[in-house]
Symmetry: C2
Subunit: 242 residues, 2 copies
């Protein structure tokens, strides 16, 4: 191809994409900031606007930028790195990233254990449970919606304590469980449902990462089971190497 650069052998649009990616990585374009217009980028690289569009499409595909018709193309704010460890505490993870963590109790309902829940919590089917719905956010941006079930017999005041302390760790500590750990973590993904979408401030059709987990005490007693939905575009899970 005569139009393709003999200098490198890479497709033009790839080089443009790489250049923009580098500019973002270097901080020349800031998170949330606006990129130059497509025609402007095209001029600066000496290529056709379609070539720039292809480059931007590749970056948008990977979630680095977001185009808004009539407005411009913007750098997506970086995803929050969320390490999955046996001792995962939301506030610690968010706080470590220099962000302001917040937990908000949305609802607390008494309900009997279904078969599946009873099995996970090592209770009998029909045993009284408390279901807690909590919205967690970082710097005011909704990150996850967590539905947590605990035994009503063991943690009768969980709703009140969570509502005031906004921390599940403190609820457990109040009942003498100073140490607990993640027993199992299952990760799937699905499309956000309507109620979750409005609470997470997500558009319909956007993906959520679904994390189902069981936390146990030091002696292995199951304490709580959680089903959390994370706005996929705002987080990335990191699996720790040994």
């Amino acid at each position: 191809m005569s139009t393709e650069a003999a200098t490198s052998g890479v497709a033009l649009w790839r080089r443009v994409a790489d250049g923009i990616e580098l500019a973002i990585a270097d901080g020349r374009y800031l998170p949330g900031g606006k990129l130059p217009g497509e025609t402007e980028i095209a001029e600066s690289y000496g290529v056709n606007r379609h070539t720039v569009r292809r480059a931007l499409a590749a970056l948008a595909e990977r979630g680095l930028v977001r185009a808004e018709r009539g407005s411009g193309t913007f750098v997506r704010s970086q995803r929050i790195a969320y390490p999955l460890r046996t001792r995962t505490r939301f506030s610690e993870i968010i706080g470590a990233g220099g962000r302001e963590p917040r937990g908000q109790l949305i609802a607390a309902v008494d309900e009997p254990a279904t078969g599946a829940l009873a099995g996970q919590l090592d209770l009998k089917t029909g045993a009284p449970l408390i279901r807690l719905e909590a919205l967690r956010s970082a710097d005011g941006v909704p990150i996850s919606l967590a539905t947590t079930w605990v035994s009503a017999a063991r943690f009768p005041d969980a709703p009140r304590i969570f509502a005031t302390t906004r921390s599940m760790t403190k609820v457990l500590a109040h009942y003498g469980y100073d140490d607990y750990r993640r027993l199992s973590t299952r990760i799937t993904a699905s499309i956000v449902d309507a109620t979750d979408a409005s609470r997470l401030e997500l558009q319909a059709g956007r993906p959520v990462l679904v994390v189902e987990s069981i936390d146990v005490a030091a002696d292995g007693t199951p304490l709580l089971t959680t089903r959390a939905r994370f706005a996929a575009e705002r987080v990335e899970f990191l699996v720790e190497g040994d």
Copy 2:
């Protein structure tokens, strides 16, 4: 609510949903099989059809069943459990589940390293790379599409070896790397793109789990970097406790 059972305190639709879930767990409804019609279920539980619909909607939300208009509601085949370890081998994981793993080389292309890739593989920008596109399936069902980059200087025959052995492990072993491990794993989710959708046999708009990983030799030398897209509805990742 008068329609809510005084006997248990659980919303009716929850009890119906739980009953159906139990039946699926028990194997009374087989994966891929068809559930009775909504009216039939309604009769057997002695509830209104709307209640059954709500129960089925809740199950569909969690991916347990899949409703097809004009056809019926079907039990989704169970998600393949995919443990994330430092030594994750696709064929071992699938094989351990009693399924028939298959890897198919779709494309192998030479291309120079972009800045990001070069950094991950500890090479210079522009260094020759080989990009391998592989489709992995279990029992003929597409599971993941993996794009892997390796150094062309170090693994010149990777495409040929992968095409015949259908195993990345064997490619590395051929070059003397009998032991390698996962250095880092990043998990995000997004919506499947058009080309991936057709290869993964997914409908447009469905979510994919995106796993970006770097594998290193025993001495820490980066060997390959991969960006894999998993059909979210067919897998669940398990994070191992210590």
